[in-house]
Subunit: 98 residues, 2 copies
């Protein structure tokens, strides 16, 4: 395997790139619920949503939040502090309007 | 701080409990999209979904899948091998039916 002059630095760049993919992934899947909650709150319509999806997301994301707190993972805590209230808001519209 | 007779074992139990919370959280947020994809595919109706939600989830979950592969995380790979096709199916209905 060919190695450049700075293999340590090269590996660090690969590691940084991999972690960047994870950060971008987290930013996308977390921010995804912002336009959705806005649309649902504005239209007061959630008929196309499965009740199971919303209940499972609210409970699941709350558990992710607890897991993040216990593991001391800032990323998990921040992501789920965003998604829990947003999915809960969509669930509220679903429960009131069906 | 009070310590019982087997602190090592107690800590192991706490660690196991914390990891169990993470596994349950992952199972819930992954399986959440199964009833949703089934409902959307059956009704062919996705008007209440924000296009941004679906695009961001498909792209974001695909990046999570890639991140899981690069990190060698079986949990991330399995979870996103489930959610990517399910969210893509909902996106297909949204694009065709609005």
């Amino acid at each position: 395997m060919h190695r450049g002059a700075s293999p340590g630095r090269k590996e660090l760049r690969v590691d940084t790139a991999v972690e960047a993919v994870g950060l971008i992934a987290g930013a996308l899947t977390t921010s995804a619920f912002v336009p959705q909650a806005w649309k649902t709150w504005r239209t007061r319509s959630a008929g196309d949503f499965s009740l199971a999806l919303l209940v499972l997301l609210v409970v699941g994301n709350t558990l992710w939040l607890g897991y993040g707190v216990m593991k001391g993972s800032t990323g998990l805590v921040v992501a789920n502090l965003v998604t829990v209230p947003l999915t809960a808001a969509i669930l509220c519209v679903k429960l009131r309007r069906g």
